[in-house]
Amino acid sequence: MNELQGYEVATFPFPDLDLVGILLYHDFPSTIVYAEDKQSPIIIEWVDCADDRKTHRYLAYKSSIKDLTKYIYGNLSHYNLIKSAADGLIVSYDEANGRRDNMQIIPFSKIPLSYLPKKDVYFESDEEVDLNDVIDFFNIPVKKNYYSIIEKEPTFPPSEITNEKVAIERQLLSEISQKELLKVVARQENSEVINMHIKEGSKIGFGTADTYVLGRLLITIDDLYRETALDHEEGVDRDNLRSINSKRGQSLYPRISTRVVLAEAASYSVFIRPIETDETSTDNHDHSILQKIFSLFSSSGDKTDLSKSKEHFSSYVYKSYQEFLEVIKLSNVDLECNFYNPFKEESIDQEFEYDKAIRLLENIRYLTTTETEKISLNIQFKALNTNTGHYTLKLKDGKQLKGHFDDLLTSLIPSLNFTDRYDVTISRAKINSTGSKKLKFEDTIISCLQSKT
């Protein structure tokens, strides 16, 4: 039998199953339907056996009545029935003498092809064994009423988009949830892991994601990790890391970068871990880098909390968070980030969707602080723009300043000249923008009188 590359689990995730019936075949029970309750079909697929035919291998997965119905009525291939497993999660196990062994959660993408039906295989009723028991148990409508239970008549074979909606509904019902898989993956990786779970979006399908969206989400969340990790390494007063290829970037790389360890159909989930385990994630005192990121997620929902967070993060972190939110907004995706620390057994969840991303972006922009001061100067104008109100002036020491006239004074500009000196009052705004360490100055002339001397 093939070596499987799943994630070992100690207990069978479907402990209380009632046998409903054998769906296929007369010659050997290969597709067997069980139930957790009237709404939750659990399907067990025989897939392989040892040469002595005493140890058999099975795949078990939770399906939905909709998918089971579509399969029975020939509108969903056997391949897609398995692929559409709730949460995209499938459990493999070996059974000999009634004892289950070698239990693993196996992502669909890692199931050996020899364990999957060919894509053009559909249910054939002449091969059924206990079909009526299955239909009766789950109250599956007779074929003529079949289309009343699905949103629309499916194409043949059914589109992935239809599956996507069904999959999202299943998320809420599934016992083996993405969060459970996250725990298994984190333990396997021996590291904190986040599941960036893209739940819905026009460019997201069940098991598919447009590179444009997925790529940007991955880059921006990696950037957010990098900036937060750099704060952790060097303090919030650090300089910008201009390039990961710099000597400094290369020496820090494993400690400030993330790695994708698993991608799953659900609609699309990416499991990400720090390349190098953050030491603080294993002790019980400090917040790890990922925990800090989630605390930023949390505090960004409230302007006051966000302002308080400024002492913990550099402006680069806010800037990268802003870019992450911009991708969510522009791509219009619903995203859920789930965090799990296997050392402390801590979980944190954070949801993002379009409206929330806009609100959080506004909150971050609120962090931009402005202080104003008034300055009185004796100057000479070097350039004046009567249309835009902008000016360039020259101080006595030869230094030049640029700015613009207050709206109320723009009518004054045509009467000014470049030879006389003027006493001006300038309102100087010092702006500390999010994501920038440098103060930005904006000068506005609010009074201007020809100098008497």
Binding site: D27, F28, P29, S30, C49, S114, Y115, P117, D126, V129
Partner: protein
């Protein structure tokens, strides 16, 4: 078992005790026939599962056995029909040959061996028929392996 058989039952069926538990059974439509027959078997001609009805295998142990067919043996009229059906079966479960048989055995069924159903005319299962053995019949020696369909080279 209430039968209106198309044959005079002089012999008991091999699995009579099981068949008797069914109120209706396809045996009533079966006939004693001389006919060539082909069946999926394992590489070892003497494998004990080669001519064992499905319901007597441990695989069906915990399952309800709703009709009597499972106490019969599946055959095909022609070798190519048996071969095509096995290949089709393995499109759904690629390793199915490991449990249903990887080779084709061919031979002749005689009237004294048992009764057989009509051959299927359904294109999906063309040439398939069920066969119910009489007691003391052992088909192993009446059949020879005639083709390997799956398995190691």
């Amino acid at each position: 078992m209430r039968l209106k058989p198309k044959f005079i039952l002089l012999m008991d069926f091999k699995y009579k005790s099981y068949l008797d538990t069914y109120k209706t059974c396809m045996i009533s439509d079966c006939e004693e026939l001389e006919r060539p027959a082909y069946r999926w078997v394992f590489e070892d001609k003497n494998d004990p599962d080669n001519f064992k009805p499905q319901f007597l295998k441990s695989d069906f142990e915990n399952h309800s056995k709703k009709n009597c067919n499972g106490y019969g043996l599946s055959f095909f009229d022609k070798k190519i029909e048996a071969r095509n059906a096995l290949i089709k079966r393995c499109k759904d479960k690629e390793n199915a040959y490991k449990v249903v048989g990887s080779h084709i055995a061919g031979g002749n069924l005689k009237k004294e061996d048992g009764v057989s159903s009509k051959s299927s005319t359904d294109p999906k299962n063309f040439g398939h028929f069920s066969f119910f053995e009489y007691v003391n019949v052992d088909l192993v020696n009446s059949f020879e392996i005639v083709e390997k369909v799956f398995g190691d080279e």
